[in-house]
Symmetry: C2
Subunit: 348 residues, 2 copies
């Protein structure tokens, strides 16, 4: 009954999520030829038949990733699937199967789980994936949902984080910061609800950012459009941790710098107006917010014209040589180094 | 902020784990030709190249599946991997890759996680599998480990639960009930330890059953031996829930009955002696205990002689037509209907 003493030990808060994973997995060696790409991208790649298989997994924990007070259960099931599919699309692959494991307190009812599975099933239907297995168990505490998604892509179509080149264009789909501002709004309304003993909050007019937070979508439409236009991104990642953090991942994996233009960052008008209410800079929301599940990717300069024809995609900067730094060029022309203050799920 | 009322609702304890999974997934439809087998066996099967891919997932939760007071952390990491590999072997496949997602309280130290990963890595080395991805996140509560394992097998080698035939022999590897008695012993010593303010318990002489509980192994040696002897089981499952429960799964999937002979059930002498101490029948421990991770399978009558040449395998009964019932024939000759009182992780 000996365990390492928790008092003498290094607290998790001393080490960030990404560093922690790197630290814990640094001794991992690959034994099988069938393992093409292990840890270190949006998903792993293993040998399939004509196509390779793309595998990713993500876990959502009550109290950390969601609050059941304001999260519709069906949406939660939907989101748990979508965040995994987003990682598959970020490899330029198409998801086909998922497994879902759930740990629930015995206080939760059968009806609650039915709603959760309705959301899971809805995501499976919308994104055309098969639920092929899982595990359901009790937990002594909150709800935990762990999803693994499996996708497919031809070897030559798979896009990694590590393959960008200097001078290539940095592009992003949709708009950023909405999911984060949706979360801020929900947290504020929760405080009001709790302090006013149950008065229902009025969330009308904020549908867009609430949906960005509670029921995000993965951008398979972007993958489809890029393919149709004959554009193969040179590198790609999904924006789950925030633009700054995810762009740094692309830069570090590709061993490059970047120039990101503040004025180019696409932000929805609802996000702009609510960020003013909250006195959070709209750029801060976009850079650090996370959970937008948009696609961040680089393309060759030759694809510039084709990209500008796609309304849902914005060019927000370009890659640089490593020595030129990872910079944000602000609307006033200042140059600021981008730091990884994106959302980090290991917090104090 | 409306959620279904927990008071008006059906408690989870009203419905067993297996029924719950069936209930929640009854609307699942399969959309892809690449999905060969979905929910309902030890693992799902999806199309690979020359070989099919075998996918399974299992989640271990603190306070439900393990108690950190007496579980060495390294063993816990090892076990979390092994229980998944066991499901892959139960399909007569070989595991090649795993993903590991972990939710931890911030109270847990970096050193704790290092030990956990050492155990995970040790299982990867012993069973020759690659750790290819995962997720590490904080939890507001206990430790949760979710593993997904991916294996491979030729289509014609895959063994399902549903393909047994009447009169075939029921076989099991190793011995049963040890993991359960190991758990009983640990729980008793925990009580003594807690009531005597920290006196270290003496667990010497019980190594075998403690290891069965804390650091089980998956029977890849049995899969290897069967192949070498030219025996292809006609159906197979791993003993994770207890012999009675898992044998019923085989019977139900194959739409058959069975005759199980109590005197044939292999039980280790340590298990026998400790079950006497605890006044738990040794047959009860074997039938209802679970977590032995042995392989339970059926073979054709023609393979009888070959099977008897393998010391690690015991013939414990035979399959019957459905109408003949699922029966335990006791040492005194009584015939008792087998019921699913195997370990069920959704409890009151």
């Amino acid at each position: 009954m000996d365990q390492p003493s928790k008092n003498q030990a290094t607290p998790l808060s001393k080490i960030g999520e990404f560093k922690l994973i790197n630290h814990l997995t640094e001794k991992v060696d690959i034994k099988h030829k069938s393992t093409i790409k292990g840890i270190g991208d949006d998903a792993a790649i293993i040998k399939g038949g004509k196509e390779e298989l793309v595998v990713t997994t993500d876990m959502l924990c009550e109290g950390i990733h969601f609050d059941l007070l304001y999260t519709p259960i069906k949406h939660l099931g939907y989101k748990a699937v979508v965040v995994n599919l987003s990682d598959i699309y970020a490899m330029n692959a198409r998801p086909e199967q998922i497994t879902v494991s759930i740990a629930v307190s015995n206080k939760i009812s059968v009806e609650f789980l039915e709603e959760l599975y309705e959301g899971i099933q809805m995501a499976c239907d919308n994104y055309q994936v098969d639920l092929i297995g899982g595990d359901t168990t009790s937990s002594n505490s909150g709800l935990i949902i762990s999803v693994t998604a499996i996708g497919r892509a031809l070897k030559e179509d798979i896009v990694y984080r590590s393959t960008a080149a200097a001078n290539e264009l940095i592009c992003v789909s949709g708009d950023l910061g909405g999911a984060y501002m949706g979360l801020q709004l929900l947290e504020r309304e929760k405080s009001i609800y709790e302090s006013s003993k149950g008065v229902q909050p009025d969330l009308s007019g904020y549908d867009y950012i609430l949906e960005r937070q509670l029921k995000p979508e993965a951008r398979f439409d972007i993958i489809h459009t890029l393919k149709k236009k004959g554009i193969l991104p040179t590198s790609m990642i999904d924006v789950s941790d925030g633009l700054s953090s995810d762009l740094l991942h692309l830069c570090e994996a590709s061993n490059l710098g970047c120039s990101l233009y503040e004025e180019k960052i696409p932000i929805d008008t609802t996000t702009v107006s609510i960020s003013e209410d909250f006195k959070i800079g709209q750029t801060t929301a976009a850079l650090n917010g996370g959970e937008d599940y948009e696609l961040l990717f680089t393309v060759k300069l030759d694809d510039h014209e084709k990209i500008t024809q796609i309304p849902e995609i914005t060019i927000i900067g370009h890659m640089n040589g490593k020595g030129e730094g990872k910079n944000l060029i602000t609307t006033t022309g200042s140059v600021i180094e981008i730091t990884a203050s994106g959302w980090d799920s290991i917090e104090d």
